[in-house]
């Protein structure tokens, strides 16, 4: 079926061309797909001759390099019953040096005469990719057919700044396999692979030789220390020219070495600098700011921008002490591309307020090194206020709280001074050994001794009625004398004498331990003898007693009553003095 169909189509085509050729207008054009390119880039030149088959001349292409071509293609169109045919030649061209290039006119001789295409000017700008850098030339020098180059986006950068390393494979073989490329081990760098997708090959000319060049690897390098850092050359074994008929040849591709200088960040980094280099923003977000006790809040600290984001540590957050916090969870949305790392790095803290109240989270600060201005800049968040209302006190609130934790002292300081009364006392003045103390200590002892003496004496008297009578003799006598005195004042003679007699009589009986009847004049004389003048004393006593006895019965008074009273009182006094105990 297939060959038959094709032959029919060919026949139809030949017929159409033959029929319509003379009837159609002839055109001859030259076109490029773009007329401004970067050095090393490719563009396409198409020269099309419509409705004619005459051969035409190739235009002049001074300074341009033909990468491919010319390829020829032809087409036939039938539109509204009108048929047209065209023949095109296509060149893939490139330019290695920047500048202006002119593609000259192409000429064709047809029946009507000679037709020329318009000349085309191509502007070639400076290339952005490494078109024919020194490393490529160097690699070409080693092996003109297969080599690798390493290019760094910068040869000098700050510690922490991001540099792009691109590994190009230059190839002139028909095919190359096993680009399973392992980049060299790098010391002093933190590396981040960039996904380049499949290798895209493009044509490039180095020193007049056309290569197929592919990016086999891209890496972001972040220098971790200052000084000269070197990327060692490496080798890669590839299988080339493998095809259905050929098993291929093993060829080793080697690369150049790249050198790099990392400059240290300027001195005077703020305390809250955590190694971030680039351009950043900082914000603090909370999923809600009004909660009840024991309900969790997610507080996220989000760092966003273009920086070495993956190397940034969480800035220090001082949560109010009554909030329970857990270790932050990091939420990264970081895009690694050839332009560097960008995106956000978030630190999510789960915060559980255990008490009601208003908690204010102080602004969080973080410093970074701004590459554009070459200085440190500080980021500061807005303060975050969390309002905590009391939790439900129903049965649902009986959720077991986490076990109590110890109070951890954060700092140590001396205890504050004593204020108020310092209880000052004169220096060097003590109660111990001072005379008030000695007096105070001995006073109870002395008092006790006195008490003991009195007590003992009293005890002794209590045990001896005779002695007690003797002791009380004076007191009794004095009582009786008072009775006599009152009788004296009343002027009652008998009463007076009775009382006086009783007083003296009783006294003498008590004093000498006698019965009342035993007190006689004779007896008195024997008893009152041991003192000077005692005889006289005894006489006086006897006389007074006799007088009293007499006066009781006969109202004869040889002496005034007053004198008698005084005599009796003085007698008792004298006797008391002489016969103490």
């Amino acid at each position: 079926m297939e060959p038959l169909k094709r032959s029919i189509t060919s026949l139809a085509f030949a017929l159409i061309v033959a029929l319509g050729a003379s009837a159609q207008e002839i055109s001859f054009t030259a076109a490029v797909d773009r007329n401004t390119i970067a050095a090393g880039d490719q563009f396409r030149l198409t020269i099309t001759l419509t409705n004619a088959q005459e051969p035409y001349s190739t235009p002049s292409m001074v300074g341009l390099v033909v990468m491919q071509g010319p390829h020829e293609s032809s087409s036939v169109n039938i539109m509204n019953g009108r048929m047209s045919s065209s023949v095109s030649r296509i060149w893939i061209l490139t330019a290695t040096q920047p500048g202006k290039y002119t593609i000259g006119p192409a000429r064709v001789k047809v029946a009507k005469g000679v037709i020329e295409t318009d000349p085309i000017t191509i502007e070639v700008t400076k290339g952005n990719a490494p078109p024919s850098d020194a490393s490529a030339a160097q690699g070409q020098h080693k092996d003109p057919n297969l080599f690798i180059t390493v290019t760094l986006s910068k040869s000098k950068a700050y510690v922490g700044e991001q540099i792009l390393a691109t590994y190009y494979l230059y190839n002139r073989y028909a095919s190359v396999e096993d680009a399973n490329f392992q980049p060299p081990k790098l010391t002093g760098f933190w590396t981040e692979e960039i996904d380049v997708g499949g290798t895209r090959w493009e044509e490039r000319v180095v020193n007049g030789l056309a290569y197929r060049v592919g990016i086999i690897k891209q890496q972001l390098l972040i220098p971790q220390r200052s000084g000269k850092l070197r990327i060692e050359p490496m080798a890669l074994t590839c299988l080339v020219n493998r095809s259905f008929f050929n098993r291929g040849t093993s060829v080793e591709a080697s690369s150049n070495a790249a050198e790099f200088t990392a400059t240290p960040l300027p001195a005077g980094a703020p305390a809250n600098f955590n190694g971030a280099v680039g351009e950043l923003q900082l914000q603090v977000l909370a999923d809600r700011t009004k909660v009840k006790e024991n309900e969790a809040i997610e507080v996220e600290l989000r760092i966003s921008g273009r920086s070495n984001l993956k190397l940034i540590d969480a800035p220090r957050i001082d949560f109010p002490s009554d909030l329970e916090t857990y270790e932050p969870k990091s939420i990264d949305k970081i895009n690694v591309s050839s332009a560097g790392m960008s995106g956000t790095r978030g630190f999510q803290y789960t915060v559980i307020p255990r008490n009601e109240g208003r908690f204010e989270l102080d602004p969080i600060t973080m410093s970074y090194f701004d590459l554009r201005s070459g200085s440190y800049k500080e980021l500061r968040t807005e303060p975050l206020v969390i309002e905590v209302s009391p939790g439900d006190s129903g049965p649902s609130a009986s959720i077991s709280r986490p076990s109590r934790t110890d109070v951890v002292p954060l700092e140590h300081d001396i205890r504050y001074i004593h204020t108020g009364d310092l209880e000052l006392r004169p220096t060097g003045h003590f109660l111990f050994g001072s005379w008030p103390w000695v007096a105070g200590m001995s006073a109870p002892g002395v008092a006790f001794l006195l008490f003991a003496l009195v007590h003992r004496r009293r005890q002794r008297l209590l045990g001896d009625p005779e002695a007690l009578r003797k002791l009380r003799a004076e007191r009794t006598a004095k009582q009786r004398l008072r009775e006599a005195e009152s009788a004296l004042q009343q002027g009652s003679s008998a009463q007076f004498h009775t009382a006086l007699s009783k007083a003296l009589h009783g006294y003498l009986a008590d004093k000498f331990g006698l019965g009342v009847a035993e007190v006689t004049a004779a007896d008195l004389r024997t008893r009152i003898t041991d003192h000077e003048g005692s005889e006289e004393l005894a006489e006086s006593c006897a006389r007074i007693l006799a007088t009293c006895d007499m006066a009781r019965f006969a109202p004869v008074e040889d002496k005034p009553r007053k004198d008698m009273y005084d005599e009796a009182a003085s007698l008792i006094q004298r006797l008391e003095r002489d016969h103490r105990s």
Binding site: I414, R415, F432, G440, P444, G445
Partner: protein, 254 residues
């Protein structure tokens, strides 16, 4: 500034009549010193309190003075005052806490005496509330003892009489204990047996003379026991028992 001036004036006045500083003057000086401390002017507070400390004394005053020196950065003076305060009121929790903090900054580490818990409790018991407490207790015990003796003589019943005899003998033992403690405390307060090193570094020699063998080196803030004095030299003893001579000017008695 105003506080400082007031204190300076008060200090001059106090200096003139230091021997006859009245209780009222002392109280006003203390009050101005405490105000200065509260305002953060530790130097002025120290000057004011120190002028009072020449005439009056108390554990609280020594505590406050120690705090002033601590805040002024002179740890050895702070230790000196805390130790003086502890002498007046052994086992005081505040004094012990601050002394421990100050001692953390002392270079020399010496074997400490007594366990921390039992030590403080025993010291509080031994020290009483103020230096005169045991003397007052002795007075009370003496009164009680003789009162019980009188009671024993007066009481008629056999059993109550016996009980009061027993109580009286208990009171007598208590009296002896109180007198013992009072005398011990008095002795402790009268004699200053310890001293604090005031120089940053002192070489302790084998003899009271320069040029003799250096036995060991002590640093600022270390507490040592003092044995004897001899012409500008003092014999000090460490808890470990080693003894040596150092210039008297390098230490301050507690």
């Amino acid at each position: 500034m105003r506080i400082t001036l007031a204190i300076a004036f008060a200090t001059i006045v106090a200096g003139i009549s230091s021997s006859a500083m009245s209780r009222v003057e002392a109280d006003s000086l203390v009050a101005s010193g405490l105000r200065a401390y509260a305002a953060g002017d530790h130097a002025a507070a120290q000057v004011a309190l120190d002028s009072v400390a020449h005439v009056f004394n108390s554990a609280a005053l020594q505590f406050d003075l120690g705090n002033c020196w601590f805040k002024l950065g002179d740890v050895s003076r702070a230790i000196l005052h805390y130790e003086r305060g502890l002498l007046l009121q052994p086992g005081d929790a505040d004094l012990l806490a601050n002394l421990a903090l100050a001692n953390d900054q002392v270079k020399d580490r010496l074997a400490s005496d007594g366990g921390p818990v039992l030590g403080a409790t025993w010291a509080r018991f031994r020290g009483g509330d103020d230096p005169d407490q045991w003397s007052r207790r002795a007075l009370f015990a003496s009164l009680l003892f003789f009162a019980l003796l009188c009671a024993a003589m007066l009481i008629k019943g056999r059993t109550p009489r016996r009980a009061s005899w027993i109580l009286a003998s208990g009171a007598f033992i208590a009296l002896l204990i109180c007198i013992g403690f009072a005398s011990m405390r008095h002795d402790e307060l009268i004699r200053s047996e310890h001293a604090i090193i005031m120089e940053p570094k002192v070489e302790v020699r084998s003899e009271p003379r320069t040029g003799t063998k250096v036995l060991f080196v002590l640093h600022k803030g270390t507490k040592v026991a003092v044995d004897q004095d001899a012409e500008g030299w003092t014999e000090v003893r460490l808890p470990s028992g080693i003894v040596g001579w150092m210039p008297t000017g390098s230490l301050e008695r507690i």
